[in-house]
């Protein structure tokens, strides 16, 4: 926040500069001790760290997901859910803790290298290329693949039929729910070994939300582990194999989705009663 280079104090002029599409993500660093407390297919293990020089946001936070599972992270606003996802993806300065994928320690890898390793990520906002067509969006998802990915595209179209109909349309012209489908489809194109979704249902109508959850279940059924942040917590926890409640960067409650839903305190404090 205090980085002087990023602060333009509201001056925005598009005629000499083009702020459109400017990125905010940056690779984090990992220094300090590594712990090994658990095993799972993907695990962010006892992570402690924060953005840039700022204070720690995460405190000894652990998030894990296994093959064929759906893990859901819930918690109050500003709890560090998105931050935890970013940490797993290597965009945070970790002072402690490790990230392991399939048993391999990937803590020191850059986000790009993690993409190559098979991690797919759908961020909370701006998660499609608006000026490119649906098909080009999917192609970009397959950017790191050298093999023929046409079959995967067909698979995505089978999964989300509406995208097949709109393949030549600029993604920016789609409705909110369709955009979310493109975003998930793009991540699938990488043929990820693990899929991470940050609030895929924010602002979408109930019917689209149901549809999206359906698709996510289908994907997970193909064996891909799914790590997901959700504010529509009750619906999400219903389909979750595993739930994490984060509060102020710490694991507050962990359990199966059903357990958390059944927990009175969790319901009252985080799921709106």
């Amino acid at each position: 926040m205090s980085d002087p280079y990023q602060d333009n104090r509201g001056n925005k002029d598009a005629s000499i500069t083009n702020p459109h599409g400017r990125g905010t993500m940056s690779a984090g660093t990992a220094s300090g001790e590594r712990s090994r407390t658990q095993d799972a297919y993907l695990i962010g293990d006892s992570m402690t760290g924060g953005y840039g020089q700022g204070p720690d946001i995460l405190h000894d936070c652990t998030i894990a997901v296994n093959k064929g599972e759906i893990a859901v992270i819930v918690g109050p606003n500003g709890a560090g859910k998105s931050t935890g996802m970013k940490a797993v993806f290597g965009m945070l300065n970790l002072r402690k803790g490790a990230v392991r994928l399939d048993g391999e320690d990937i803590t020191a890898l850059s986000p790009q290298d993690r993409v190559v390793k098979g991690m797919g990520f759908v961020p909370q906002t701006s998660n499609i290329f608006t000026s490119m067509t649906v098909e080009e969006n999917l192609e970009m998802g397959a950017f790191i693949r050298r093999d023929d990915f046409r079959k995967t595209i067909e698979q995505v179209y089978e999964l989300f039929p509406i995208l097949g109909d709109k393949r030549r349309q600029a993604a920016g012209e789609l409705s909110g729910g369709q955009r979310q489908q493109v975003a998930v489809g793009r991540a699938l194109m990488t043929q990820p070994k693990v899929l991470m979704l940050d609030e895929p249902t924010a602002g979408v109508s109930p019917i689209v939300m149901d549809e999206l959850f359906d698709r996510i279940i289908e994907v997970s059924r193909t064996g891909i582990p799914i790590l997901m942040v959700e504010q529509n917590a009750r619906q999400a926890l219903e389909i979750a194999d595993k739930g994490y409640v984060l509060v102020q960067g710490r694991n507050a409650h962990t359990g199966t989705g059903k357990e958390l839903l059944a927990d009175d305190e969790v319901r009252r404090s985080f799921l709106g009663g």
Partner: protein, 336 residues
Amino acid sequence: MDFLNALVALANFVIVPALAYGSQLALGALGVTLIYGILRFSNFAHGDTMAFGTMATILATWAMQSAGISFGVLPTALLALPIGIAATGLLLLGTDRLVYKFYRVKKAKPVIFVIASLGVMFVMNGIVRFIIGVDDQQFADGERFLITARDFRTMTGLEEGLAIKTTQVITVAVAIIVVAILFWFLNKTRTGKSMRAYSDNEDLALLSGINPERVVMYTWLIVGGLATIAGVLYGLDKSFKPFTYFQLLLPIFAAAIVGGLGSPVGAIAGGFVIAFAEVTITYPLKKLLGYLLPDSLAPDGLVQLLSTDYKFAVSFVILIIVLLFRPTGLFKGKSV
């Protein structure tokens, strides 16, 4: 006959020169627009980049000429072009490493890039003058004309002549070819698409495994190529002088803006709009009307809308009018 004369006069003094000048502006504007679209700032050093590229090409041309290499009827400079492009590409990559990369890593706001490019402009300005000096350099060789005005007159028996210079033809041809290649590259190739993706959404490009540094590198290389080609074609058609290249910056920006910053098609259209605006609005109609109207009605005065003093102002008036009606330029500029 009179009608033909009028047509030829118009072609000779308006259409042909404006086409050539428009192509030169368009090529320059393409570079500006690409940087704006992909790297997201207005590069004030572009005029001086063109000067550097042309200088490198001229030096290579001289070396070739003294080694006895020539390109037949075409200017030797075309042969030397790859060397110039390579040198410019290296310079731009070096500048990026030394200046812009730092800010990119810091995710600095665009306006900082703009001001940094002003600094780069000053420095490049000095470098070019250090190496080749401030004087006019003529480096065109080969056949100058496809057809001269005199030949045309004897050939057709018309009163008016039509001169077409080799450089004009080359300029327009190269502009078309380059634009076509650029289009194909951006829309069809993997690298081109990755550049568009980067310009659309940097974070997401990263998440798709696109290497931003590579995109930036390709952008600078393409811009280096465009700047050199634009500069050399301009220098062949007119002459090379560092100060003039610096002055080209304004019409080039005007062209890019009229067309819609960030839009390659717009850059082309903008180049022609500015060129034709400059040439047509100040063109006195006396001769044309003299040919077209019966003698009794032929005008005495020049029938000039505005004196040539205002030609530059005219292109800006047009620019403002275009923007009033199409606020983001002719081709909805935004990103590539």
